[in-house]
Amino acid sequence: MVQVVTAPIDPAALAEKLKDPRAGGYASFEGWVRNENEGREVLQLEYETHEPLVIKEGERIIAEAKERWPLIGAEFVHRSGLLELGACAVWVGVAAKHRDEAFLACRYLIDDLKQRLPIWKKEHYVDGDSGWVNCERCAQHGEAGRLQR
């Protein structure tokens, strides 16, 4: 299941929902708001999402992972709105019989959700400036820095 939430994420409660007597391994990932990005001091983050497509495309990513590996449960939750330093911006959890598929699917989910879902991140810097964060893959391609600074 995919959720977009404005309230803090509770990973323990989410993990509890994935509990299953057949599950021997649970891999999870949390993205936390860092105090720095590309050399600039970050004060807080703002996430904008287009929720209907985050859900629809997110469920597709989960379905793909379930086709690829034998999973017992796989879910993720993404925050929307203004987040303070240290806050959990995204949680991904995967329960499986064995750890191998739990790790692989967890990694697949976070990688694909970052690249495919309509979610944008605006950094507010300590110096008062702000800017939209470019996508990871675009940054890797080396062209086109920030859209706006």
Partner: protein
């Protein structure tokens, strides 16, 4: 030609595109046949020099490819480079 017929579509701008356009959506009359043609036609609006390949598009709330056909009455969502997580 049928292809070049004008059509009316709703275009929605997100994140930096919305901030640059100063509006979140508008009705456009266009002769664009594909999502890519519409993206190029709105380049002044969304103010981006990003290649389409770094951006994404959805038509009627389904993720679409840039060569997806645009039809009269469609809602087209223009997404700047995404950065979830």
């Amino acid at each position: 030609m049928n292809d070049a017929a004008t059509k009316t579509v709703k275009v929605r701008y997100f994140a930096s595109f919305r901030e640059h356009a100063g509006i979140s959506e508008e009705l456009l009359t266009t002769t664009a046949n594909t999502a890519r043609e519409l993206f190029d036609a709105t380049r002044d609006r969304h103010g981006s020099a990003e290649p389409a390949g770094h951006c994404k598009v959805a038509v009627n709330d389904d993720m679409a490819t840039w060569d997806a056909p645009i039809r009269d009455g469609d809602t087209v969502l223009l997404f700047p480079p995404v950065a979830g997580g």
